[in-house]
């Protein structure tokens, strides 16, 4: 999990996440891995790859060092959004991370309370509120 959070910090904010942001992200990742077959092994593959590319524990690297690895090994999609990529093969773990793990990590963060906080929402789909708020500006 530490590897995933360390990668997510590079991807979703470009900075270290606060403890509450980390907690939201971890919950969102756990939700996905517990419910959808395949994500646990995808994330294990991601964690192993990151350590291999870092030649040390990936979370031990500084944020710029982590970002440099992400860039150098093209772990973020480099096409236009929505461009369809070929399905990654098992012999190309970088592609699996780029096509599957990275988008899911970004989505996990931005659908969590931390992601909604980025846009200034304390209540959002899934966190109930009242029938006054929606009638007014925030």
């Amino acid at each position: 999990m530490e590897n995933l959070v360390a990668l997510a910090e590079v991807l979703v904010q470009g900075r270290a996440l606060s403890p509450s942001e980390r907690a939201d992200l971890v919950e969102s990742i756990n939700d996905r891995t517990l419910s959808t077959p395949g994500y646990l092994s995808l994330y294990r593959l991601t964690a192993r790859l990151l350590d291999r590319l870092a030649q040390t524990r990936f979370p031990d690297l500084s944020l710029p060092q982590r970002a440099e690895i992400v860039l150098r090994h093209r772990l973020v999609p480099d096409g236009e959004p929505g461009t369809s990529s070929p399905p990654p093969s098992s012999s190309d773990p970088e592609a699996a991370v780029r096509v599957l793990a990275v988008p899911e990590l970004i989505a996990s963060y931005y659908r969590s309370p931390a992601g909604w906080a980025v846009v200034g929402y304390e209540s959002f789909p899934g966190r109930c509120s009242d029938l006054v708020r929606y009638t007014r500006p925030e």
Partner: protein, 532 residues
């Protein structure tokens, strides 16, 4: 399940515990009629609703039931009509996941042939259904206002006050005024205030799964009341495989199976199929016999024909001011200006829904669409969020004889039965109307100062209509105006499959009103001394 293989017996056997079946069960049981309801799916436990909500928020379908082979279908025609999210097995049926919009049809919707020379008239008029619309609104708890200039006359007020207009509705209203469009409240079966033992809506924003029970669904409204009478039993995980006849015009029993595949039987005096406009015709077609080789109640050849829905598009744009979306999961404003007063001989009806939750504008969606990462991604989400506005267009579709539900014998479900095959086309007039509606919606968005206005691809509402249409002529319809099968005296077919035409309004309230009316008529036949 029945004990020891002993057949279950009832006065009335209802197949399906969704909106129509649930209402029928309660309306009959409260009049002392013994009812057995066979439901193919499980009880979706209300105490798990918050968990179901989380599943939905992950982009998965919490109402999906096992085995998936039970829901296999195949597609034909020029446009794929996918059933995946649009049908729900289980107590509550599709009312578990519906949006809750509860509009009456307009009086003109029942008379397209008389007024415009197109399609067919219904064998009943709006005035016949009006009191039942009122009963349905009371039973489901419809929140609404009398501000729709195109509404047909009503004899009762809405039981609940309307939901207030949203912040973005105010912006839509100003723009609509500029282009000569009248915006009004959208009636919905959702508690604007606590009602009938259910809580006020708490704006959870996930109406496909309402975790508080504020949205009406018959697993909360009608089924528990039916069971509380002591006259109704609901058997879950009981998939009906076929109907049995002892003579051509009389059903003697239904055969159903649980998950273990063991077949059991229910006998009853009357049978009501309330399994939706796909499964009901499928069951009739599967119940073919020597005396009814084309399928039960299918002398007209119309069982499964005229499958109809509501084609829809979203038109979205970007405005400079923030509109603060996603704070409720439903819309609060609409206009029926284009649904009634127009020449429907050459133009289909449509209505506009002003969205409080435009597609693609959530932080997650914005992030994935941006192609950015790191600090640039955060800035993009922060900057872009809240500026997307959207209008949804629902278009009337006329019955098309090419559209149908048939059996595909080459593909079978988990019980070995042929799966439904959906053949679907969208006609040129529907496409022209969608193009016109796109222009209207674009005018509204441009009056708001929107840029980047674009239209979504063509999609379809989860409304399945018309596959066992009602009428007076047995050669041109499957059921009569009481929804009794013309050819089978003790068989009723309820739900939107009986609609003659689709309107542009969602079908739920009309399904409910018709179910109440049919239950009343069945009760008057079975308990004449007590009155209906």
């Amino acid at each position: 399940m029945t004990d020891g293989g002993r057949p279950e017996e009832a006065e009335v056997c209802i197949v399906g515990a969704g909106l129509a079946g649930g209402i029928m069960a309660f309306e009959l049981a409260r009049r002392g009629i013994r009812v057995v309801v066979l439901e193919s799916g499980p009880r979706h436990d209300f105490s798990r609703r918050f968990e179901d909500m989380r599943v939905f928020l992950r982009g998965e379908n919490p109402w999906r039931t096992l085995p998936p082979e039970l829901d296999v279908y195949t597609l034909g025609g020029s446009v794929p009509y996918f059933l995946d999210y649009s049908r729900i097995r289980g107590v509550g049926g599709s009312s578990l996941g519906w949006e809750g919009y509860a509009l009456r049809f307009h009086a003109n919707d029942f008379r397209l042939r008389s007024l415009y020379g197109i399609a067919e008239d219904w064998p009943i008029a709006y005035e016949d259904l009006e009191p039942y619309y009122g009963s349905a609104e009371t039973a489901l708890g419809v929140a609404g206002a009398d501000d729709d200039p195109w509404a047909s006359p009503r004899s009762t007020s809405f039981p609940l006050p309307p939901f207030a207009f949203s912040y973005s509705d105010g912006m839509f209203a100003s723009a609509c005024k500029q282009v000569g469009i009248v915006l009004h409240h959208l009636p919905q079966a959702r508690n604007s205030v606590a009602y009938a033992g259910r809580s006020q809506c708490r704006a959870c924003g996930t109406c496909f799964v309402c975790p508080t029970g504020a949205k009406a669904s018959v697993d909360l409204t009608h089924i528990p009341q039916a069971e509380a009478t002591g006259n109704a039993r609901v058997l879950t995980d009981a998939t009906v495989l076929r109907l049995q006849v002892d003579r051509p015009d009389h059903v003697s029993g239904v055969v159903y199976a649980g998950r273990d595949g063991r077949e059991q039987r229910v006998s009853a005096d009357l049978f009501v199929l309330a399994a939706g406009a796909v499964e009901t015709p499928r069951l009739l077609l599967r119940s073919a016999s020597k005396t009814s080789p084309a399928g039960l109640a299918n002398g007209s050849g119309l069982v499964g024909k005229y499958f109809t829905s509501h084609p829809l598009i979203d038109v979205t744009g970007r405005v400079g001011d923030k509109v603060y979306p996603y704070r409720v999961g439903f819309s609060t404003a609409m206009t029926r200006q284009f649904a009634v007063d127009r020449d429907r001989a050459s133009q289909r009806a449509f209505y506009l829904e002003f969205l409080n939750f435009p597609r693609g504008g959530q932080p997650e969606r914005l992030a994935l669409a941006s192609g950015k990462w790191g600090e640039a991604l955060r800035r993009q989400v922060e900057t872009e969020f809240g500026h997307t506005v959207g209008i949804r267009v629902y278009c009337e579709q006329l019955p098309d004889p090419r559209n149908s539900v048939t059996l595909n014998s080459r593909v079978t479900d988990s019980f070995g039965n042929p799966v439904p095959h959906i053949t679907y086309h969208v006609g040129p007039q529907e496409r022209e109307t969608l193009a016109e509606a796109r222009t209207v919606a674009t005018r509204v968005l441009e009056a708001m100062g929107a840029s980047q206005v674009r239209s979504s691809a063509l999609r379809f509402a989860s409304h399945q209509i018309g596959t066992h249409r009602m009428g007076r002529d047995p050669r041109a319809s499957v059921v009569d105006e009481t929804l009794r099968a013309h050819e089978v005296a003790n068989l009723y077919l309820v739900g939107s499959g009986c609609f003659v035409t689709a309107s542009s309004s969602p079908p739920a309230l009309t399904i409910a009103a018709l179910a109440i009316r049919t239950a009343e008529q069945i009760a008057s036949l079975r308990r004449p001394a007590e009155g209906a």
